[in-house]
């Protein structure tokens, strides 16, 4: 039996979530192509340089917030249902929350796209970070609130499912997939408090004219309180796939269940008290707080380094089960022609590179060299743009057949797709990193300044531009291939053999080896909250004690030209 037959209600919700995620991926990806060609000066006929920022806002919001949130909602709905072996308690209610997320998405997207249509009276060219005092139309902030609250309510459904299961199984270990979903969502509740306060108490009333000013540094700090953990909200679902599905796709089983639990507990504890590492170069924040955040950030490397070990060990185990031998020759025995496997493995490889550039970002003083340069998007296109996005695409090849009951079509296209993405991202990201090292700024429609020479690096600016434009084009091609495969699969007929199934073999070292305390989620949430109070208590008090709205900035609507 496949998932869609066992749990039809959960499968339906997962399908809807995936559908919105793929639509956002298509539009956001098209925007990415426009940016790559515009920035590099290869082709500037799509939009004016002023409207570039509308496209950039759309790219960030649709991919980083909408695509990720919807996809992981589907993935986690599947994971919780499958691993607890029970359907969601109230599917109708979940549909309401889904509608809320969708309404928020449409509201935010329409407001952003209004920037491209002069006759539409609303704009939101404030980018994905929406720093005050640049101000968007109130509908943009309302859309954000609906997205955040919708994600809370969907998460609550998974928690309710878990509690029902717990009542019936008081002494069992939490199944690994559900454990991972719970850890991720607790982290999410804790960290979205920052952005919820920022939008609900400051930006929304300010955009409606209810309050006259906001403190740009306070709202920015609240944003980054959320802005780093959101990165882990994107990554933890990819880890969920790498830990629980990738070992099976490799032909083996997970190396260690206890280590997987430890890693997710570490993410819950350390994801939030690190936000100041995005504000190393901000005035108004004492350096001691920055140093504390830097230390926490460095320790946040630990769960990712542990993951690298476990994932590679699990893959090696799988390869040896398939007859692989030798020190490295076992790599050849992995199923590189299976797009679900190849995509996840390539995503993991790129994540390793992204991890190293992230260590540079985290290094408080070396950060001066690369802060707000093209290095930074070069970095996060390896992390969220590949570790997360390519893993999500890859696992769709495995999961979509199970939630639709339809066989994967265009398998040949699917087989080459992860490699096209890998090649495109390799070209684009290496050039972005190197351009950042010589000071080319990010978030700029035309980084070709008169009288400014970006020099002194291997290659040259011209060569980097070619790589960025070519890489961006290949990425879009890979995206189109993916959407083609999904479309063909979705429109295909049901029936026949799926060639995939959702059974997951037990880990080599199972949950019986994991200390019981790891499953004490209340304890870990309390410790996480304590760490947040330590990292954020004093600095937030310092920013708020001179008046919540002071020093106060009047709004600068994005439609206003100086």
């Amino acid at each position: 039996m496949t998932f869609v037959d066992d749990y039809p209600a959960a499968a339906k919700i997962t399908r809807w979530q995936f559908l919105v995620a793929f639509a956002a991926l298509g539009v956001g990806g098209l925007f990415g192509l426009i940016q790559a060609l515009h920035r590099t000066g290869v082709f500037r006929g799509f939009v004016s340089s002023g409207d570039y920022y509308t496209v950039l806002t759309g790219h960030g919001v649709l991919l980083a917030l909408v695509f990720t949130t919807f996809f992981l909602s589907g993935l986690f709905t599947w994971g919780v249902t499958r691993s607890l072996e029970r359907d969601l308690p109230n599917p109708t209610r979940v549909k309401v929350w889904f509608g809320m997320l969708l309404a928020g998405t449409i509201l935010a997207a329409v407001t952003i796209l209004g920037g491209l249509v002069p006759s539409m009276p609303f704009e939101a060219d404030v980018l994905f970070t929406f720093y005050a005092p640049l101000q968007a139309h109130p509908a943009f902030y309302v859309g954000l609130v609906l997205l955040i609250v919708g994600s809370w309510l969907i998460g609550a459904e998974w928690i309710l499912t878990f509690r029902e299961w717990r009542a019936e199984n008081p002494d069992s270990r939490i199944p690994l997939q559900t454990f991972m979903v719970m850890a991720t969502m607790l982290m999410w509740y804790l960290s979205t408090l920052g952005v919820a306060v920022e939008v609900l108490f400051f930006l929304l009333p300010w955009s409606l004219g209810l309050i006259g000013t906001v403190d740009p540094l306070l709202t920015r700090t609240l944003f980054w309180y959320f802005g780093h953990p959101v990165v882990y909200f994107w990554l933890m679902p990819a880890y969920f796939v790498w830990y629980t599905i990738l070992p099976k796709l490799s032909g083996g089983r997970l190396f260690s269940d206890p280590l997987a639990r430890i890693v997710f507990v570490l993410f819950l504890l350390l994801s939030t008290p690190v936000g100041f590492h995005h504000q190393y170069l901000d005035p108004g924040i004492p350096s001691g707080f920055k140093f504390l955040a830097m230390t926490n950030t460095m320790f946040l490397l630990l769960p990712s380094l542990l993951t690298a070990f476990t994932v590679v060990a699990s893959m090696e185990h799988g390869a040896r089960q398939r007859g692989g031998q030798g020190r490295l020759a076992w790599l050849k025995s992995l199923p590189w022609d299976n797009p679900a496997f190849a995509g996840c493995a390539l995503a993991g490889l790129m994540f390793a590179a992204g991890g190293f550039s992230g260590m540079i970002n985290a290094g408080m003083n070396i950060n001066y060299l690369i802060h707000n340069t093209l290095w930074v998007p070069g970095h996060f296109h390896l992390t969220v743009g590949t570790a997360t996005a390519l893993t999500f695409m890859a696992i769709s090849y495995w999961l979509v057949p199970q939630v639709t009951g339809k066989k994967l079509r265009w398998r040949g296209v699917a087989t080459i797709q992860p490699y096209v993405w890998f090649l495109g991202m390799g070209l684009m990201s290496n050039a972005m990193h190197r351009a950042g090292l010589v000071g080319v700024p990010r978030r700029t429609a035309e980084p070709q300044y008169q009288n400014i020479d970006f020099g002194g690096v291997v290659g040259g600016i011209g060569e980097m531009r070619v790589q960025i434009a070519l890489g961006g084009t290949l990425l879009f091609v890979a995206l189109a291939l993916f959407l083609g495969v999904m479309g063909a699969t979705w429109l295909g007929h049901r029936g026949g053999t799926l060639r995939v199934n959702g059974s997951i073999p037990e880990p080599l070292s199972g949950s019986e080896h994991a200390p019981k305390v790891l499953d004490n989620l209340r304890l870990w949430l309390a410790v996480a909250a304590l760490l947040v109070v330590i990292a954020y208590g004093l600095p937030l008090w310092g920013l708020a004690s001179d008046g919540l709205l002071a020093p106060g900035s009047s709004p600068v609507p994005v439609s206003l030209l100086p």
Binding site: S49, D215, P286, G363, P441, T444, G552
Partner: protein
């Protein structure tokens, strides 16, 4: 709980790497003297930095022998001074930048150097820099600030000491 011996080794190496990173940053700060932009610059009126008590008119000030203070206002879409005419300081001097924004969040990046800070309305970013050699640098705004953000740039000229006429310099008050 059982941890494989390879994994123990990996764990040990990972922790060593992390401690090493924290140690290098600490070394850079304590021994190398790399200071972070912080709250030392103080605050200004968010909408009107120039008329704030602790901010001077935009320009270059001599505060001592070989010591200069540069007050820069970032405003959509120019640096004052910097965009209309270059900021000029002599080589071999210690320069303290005080950067404030008059409207939205901007960046102040001297291209190809470590001089890089955010200009956030209401706050002064204070940066101490030593320029040993004569050179011409570009300045770019590296934070999105509006539809013409990509035009916001300027110049910093570090001129040889014997060519520096000090014509743009005011004595510090």
């Amino acid at each position: 709980m059982e941890i494989h011996r390879f994994e123990k080794g990996w764990l040990f190496a990972s922790v060593l790497l992390i401690v090493g990173f924290v140690a290098t940053v600490t070394y850079g700060g304590v021994v190398g003297g790399v200071q972070m932009v912080d709250d030392a610059g103080g605050q200004v009126f968010a909408d009107d930095p120039v008329n704030s008590p602790n901010f001077e008119d935009p320009g270059v000030y001599r505060s001592g022998p070989g010591e200069y203070d540069v007050y820069v206002v970032a405003k959509r879409f120019a640096f004052e001074p910097g965009s209309e005419s270059p900021i000029r300081v002599p080589a071999g001097s210690n320069v303290t930048f005080y950067v404030a924004s008059a409207d939205v969040v901007h960046g102040f990046e001297v291209v190809g150097t470590n001089v890089n800070a955010m200009a956030i309305p209401g706050q002064i970013a204070r940066l101490e820099v030593r320029f040993d050699e004569a050179a011409e640098y570009g300045i770019v705004c590296n934070e999105y600030c509006g539809a013409a953000h990509h035009t916001m740039a300027g110049q910093l000229h570090v001129v040889p000491q014997d060519e520096f006429d000090g014509g743009n310099v005011t004595e510090a008050p």
